[in-house]
């Protein structure tokens, strides 16, 4: 009996925090999404579906997000896999931990400052100036989808490397020896043994990066210059500039629903590889 009281007491502060700061706000968003815009902006109570019928007004934002999020995830994967492979299989024991830490650390530093660095590199005085100095003509890099994609890969690469590294590192090296003994050339061992066994890591990494990209705001805001905007940018506009909370809530609900549907479908698809491991702890 006493132990039960202690358990309840221990859970109480965190539980209360979750209810007031997570459950309540999410319920409010859901309720507001059926409301109407107030006279002076904000929200006025109602129960209408207008906001959801109005969603096509922000179609471009959804289109950009649903194009650049998968493309960005794929780009991260293609760049991250060889590095994860190198770290798990080729790098020497002595340096492995340090090299891994060096990959993870940038993810936990300010994405704002790191994206800002690319304004410097891709902006008028950076790479474009170099290229035109070499006489290769004028190009524009900042405020293009390419700039946003570069920022995405730069920002989320660490999140992709880590789960792939974990699954490759756990791989039983004897399987590769067996494969070689049975006469497989290395490339075939890779395709038939290493790659399939690293799929749980690939699936986890893709899911984490994709989820974060769906809600991205900073990278398109800083490197897209208002020309390449995501749903996140539309949300900032709706809540802080045009102050249409009811419609904004509907956009937010739509974003979360799309995320849930894609992630669930994706997890179904990959469940035969992924064993439901908890890779949320990134350190």
């Amino acid at each position: 009996m006493q132990a039960r009281h202690r358990t309840a007491l221990f859970l109480l502060p965190a539980g209360a925090w979750f209810v007031t700061m997570l459950v309540l706000p999410l319920v409010v968003v859901l309720v507001f999404s059926f409301g109407e815009r107030g006279e002076a902006g904000g929200y006025s109570p109602a129960f209408v579906l207008d906001n959801y019928f109005n969603l096509p007004a922000r179609w471009t934002a959804f289109q950009n997000t649903l194009t650049l999020a998968p493309v960005g995830t794929l780009a991260c994967l293609l760049i991250a896999y060889p590095l994860a492979y190198f770290l798990a299989v080729r790098a020497s024991e002595k340096w492995r931990t340090l090299l891994l830490v060096l990959v993870i650390v940038p993810f936990w530093t300010s994405i704002l400052i790191r994206s800002y660095a690319w304004i410097f590199i891709l902006g008028g005085q950076g790479i474009p100036a170099l290229i035109s100095a070499m006489g290769l003509g004028d190009i524009k890099l900042i405020n293009t989808p390419f700039a946003v994609l570069t920022g995405i890969v730069y920002g989320y690469l660490p999140l992709m490397v880590f789960p792939i590294y974990v699954s490759l590192e756990r791989l039983d090296k004897r399987l590769l020896e067996a494969s070689a003994d049975l006469g497989s050339p290395p490339w075939r061992s890779f395709l038939q043994v290493t790659l399939p066994l690293s799929m749980p890591g690939v699936a986890t990494g893709c899911m984490l990066v994709f989820i974060l990209l769906m809600g991205e705001f900073l990278i398109p805001a800083i490197l897209g210059g208002g020309k390449v905007f995501f749903v996140g940018n539309a949300l900032v506009d709706l809540f802080l500039q045009s102050r249409n909370w009811a419609f904004g809530s509907a956009v937010a609900v739509a974003l979360v629903v799309i995320m849930l549907v894609t992630v669930t479908a994706y997890m179904r698809l990959t469940s035969r590889w992924a064993g439901g491991r908890d890779d949320l702890s990134l350190m």
Partner: protein, 272 residues
Amino acid sequence: MRLYALAVYLFLYIPIGIIALFSFNAGRYAAQLQGFSTKWYGIALNNPFVVDALHTSAVVAATSSTLATIFGTLAALALPSVRGPLRTIIDALIYIAVMVPGIVIGIATLIALVTVFGWLNPLLVALWPFAEAAPQLSMGYGSLVAAHGLFAIALVIIIVRARIAGMDRSLIEASDDLGATPWGTFRQVTLPQIFPGMLAGFLLSFTFSFDDFIIAFFVAGSKTTLPIYVFSSIRRGVTPEINAIGTMVLAVSLGLLVIAQFILQRGRRPTT
């Protein structure tokens, strides 16, 4: 293979290096190197807006990560004895807190708190028994700490729970058998084993709060955190002052992360 890895590391670190390099640039113009100088650090640290934003960020990060470490650890300690539907709900909430995009958390918190304050403030005025004007609830330190604390609590629970799962149960049983009180067992056996997790959780929470832009952008009210200041300055163009601030921000989080990593790595090895 090695060359490829080197190229990726250069890709990860050159942009950070460039910011740091140009923060020591003597010239006014960001894009031309004109000799070494630390004057932009002086200018940044004498800018009252920067100092104010830095103060806000530090207070919010310290408060939210301290509260999150205490409450998150308590919850993580209680979780192993929770079973059934309640456990499912708690696990789902932790998952949602980490996975829902920061921007959605930000707007949800904004509209929920503004609405609740809208109801409570007239009530406060009506019920206030003293002669002075009644205090009014508004967005600011409280809402920043509350919103950052949510993610931080989830983070601490995940990290500390993993350490509890990897703990040697036989030590606790041995301590009980030898007649230690529950508090004695906790202090002498459990706490030393979960402490590295708590510390790492604290440092990561602090870094998260200190670096967060998107949630703070919505819930800061009239306050300005350092990332909000940097974001609004970037819109006015690239300056060496922002480079100096950026380098300091990166240095703070890099320092904390290296410490967190060191603690976690050490904690993994049995210390004899």
